[in-house]
Amino acid sequence: MILAGFLQRAIMQGIPLLYGSTGEIITEKSGNLNLGIPGIMYVGGIGGVIGAFLYEQHAGAELNPFLAVMIPLLCSMAGSLLMGLIYSFLTVSLRANQNVTGLALTTFGVGFGNFFGGSLVRLAGSDVPSISLGRTSNYFRTSLPIADRLGWFGQIFLSHSFLAYAAIVIALLTSLILAKTRVGLHLRAVGENPATADAAGISVGKYKYFATCIGSVIAGLGGLYYVMDYANGVWSNDGFGDRGWLAIALVIFAVWRPNLSILGSILFGGLYIVHNYIPGLDVSGQELFKMLPYLVTILFLVAISMRRKREAQPPAHLGLPYFREER
């Protein structure tokens, strides 16, 4: 029973990472190394919180279940879309350095989230430094009623909310699109060799914009899931922690394949919380255990670079700007 509980928590822990890594994989396949993902996920989270807060205030005692889900969802998507647009505009249109832009967006996103988080706490007049949106969260956390009746199977696989299943469906769909469709072929070409893609008549800028923005929106949903599902609708500043970076590490671990990233996210999620299941750990021991996902990523990087398989490498043009008329 402990194992089932552990796995259930591991999956819940893994879902934000899965969203983040799927979004980042789509982005990286276009050659954009978006290190703004942690900030974008943060904005996705606070966007949902703002939407939910305003709706809860406005609607009073009776919430419409549909609106209670849709408003935070759309607010979250709008926030992360905006972040993706900023990143694309700076790196694709203005050809700014991708690393600098990404890191700046992360700093900005976290600051943005904390600023509005703090403001909302004040508006709510709460006496703890967090804001609770339990009513909205309940709608988000609605799961299949049969889950309780199916024992450990139900607990592990069926107890999750719609956002969790959506994450898996999106990851599988992304894998399918990348491998089996024309759009996927073109996107991969843009990330591998934009000059070639350009010569083949593919609009490099368009693909980069769309991939980055869609990727950002998907990553932002990870932030939303974290607040509404994992944290039961409680927003506290900096509560999201280092999950954004973990999502980027997961991209490497999944060798840029969203379908592998599903399993990887559960593994990372499990490693992230395993310290809770080991008795007698003090605080410093816990921190050591939290390091595990990163350690695994580094070891994995060493392993794949030793195998030197071309297919397991990052997109060849990752992180580089593309100029057409450069001589």
Partner: protein
Amino acid sequence: MANTDAPALRLEHITKRFGSVIANDDISMTVQHGQILSVLGENGSGKTTLMNMIAGIYYPDGGKIFVDGKEAVIRSPHDAFQYQIGMIHQHFKLVDLFTATENIILGLEDDGRYSLKKANQRVKEIVSQYGFRLDPEKKVYEMSVSEKQTVEIVKVLYRGADILILDEPTAVLTPQETDRLFAVLRKMRSEGKSIIIITHKLHEVLSLSDQVTVLCKGRYAGTVNTAETDEAQLTEMMVGRKVTLNIERSEPKDTVPRLTVEGLTVRSREGTDLLRNVSFEARSGEILGIAGIAGSGQRELLEAIAGLLRAEGKIVYHDPKTGKEENLRGRDPLEIRELGVRLSFVPEDRLGMGLVGNMDITDNMMLRSYRKGRGFFLERKAPKSLAEKIVSELEVVTPGVSTPVRRLSGGNVQKVLVGREIAAAPTVLMAAYPVRGLDINSSFTIYNLLNQQKERGVAVIFVGEDLDVLLELCDRIMVISSGAVSGIVDARAASKEQIGLLMTKNTASEGGAADGKA
């Protein structure tokens, strides 16, 4: 349907500027249906720029393009496909990680449902129709240069192109592969396709094309029927003045061994032999040519001598100053350089290992002298005057010595690189492909530089690809074939056929590598 009365492609008064440089100035030309047209011109004469405008990579600043008599606005490669124009670039535009077929269908939108299976089938049909050799499902990174070029050509045919542009297609091919390519091109011509081919090799122009259009310094210099012209006339049109095709070769004087290489073996990281048991001697006052099919180990040989690659065997340097014999193996590149062994290495991308593209000419001189100078700050005066000397003596075309090397054309880059290495008064000068992609005029400047060095008693090692040049420039020619020496011949007595034979000789069986054949 194509209107056969109108020419397949006509350019009128095309002009293109890059900043203040005019790459193409008021160029007009015509290509008929079922015709092979060669475009000739020196480096920097604007051939590739002009072709890129037809293929939609650049957009002209002025002038018009007509396809089948109708004005065509080509703003992107996609537009070019609409007009059934396909270009095979000098540097292949392929995605390494994709299969041949994936590369071929890349960018195609209006092809019905996406199906790799169907596409593979169609690629196979085209491949067998024209007699190519290509596996549609092979990944590009596993392919040879010739296979990659085949992918490029099939890509264009797959799109049903009627006008094919080939930018120096034979530069990377062996003679046999070139023949096969030409056979394919002739077959396309007989099917009514128009072909534009850019090449530096005059004999190819004469054997393949119907008409030749010559560009000179970005301007149109004229069009002649191939049947009515010869190499001398074409050369004159290209350079604007007559140049002698004969390279002046002096007799080697006072030759003494300068560099003795014995049993040199280099292994790749995968453990295969890149060089196998190579032995030879380079003598002072003589040019030793190295011939071989591209990638036979020429690069590895020079890098091993320069200390850039780990090797087994002996490399003995006979120091003319002290008379001592020094083993170069195991020394670091700096020590080897200090002894006077200079590598002027010019890999395919021209800037390669010798120069830093974003730095100006003076800074590039300092790459060799940054250790000199007294104080904490760099000594800039001497490198600057050296840069100015090279610019004026070798006639480097540049706005000034503070122009980034990247902005210079290929020939001028080469002059800067070779000039710098010569300035250090070397005793051994190694030059790999120093004239690759250069026009005749720049090539001759380089040949003369090498000859001057030879007359000063330098042992020159020249890796070249044009057999005619090797035969005229060098004193002895060493031929390598898949990493082993297949013969060393006297350049004055040897024939092209003899060297060609040595180049393709199977050396694997001699090296005891019986497992070489799968």
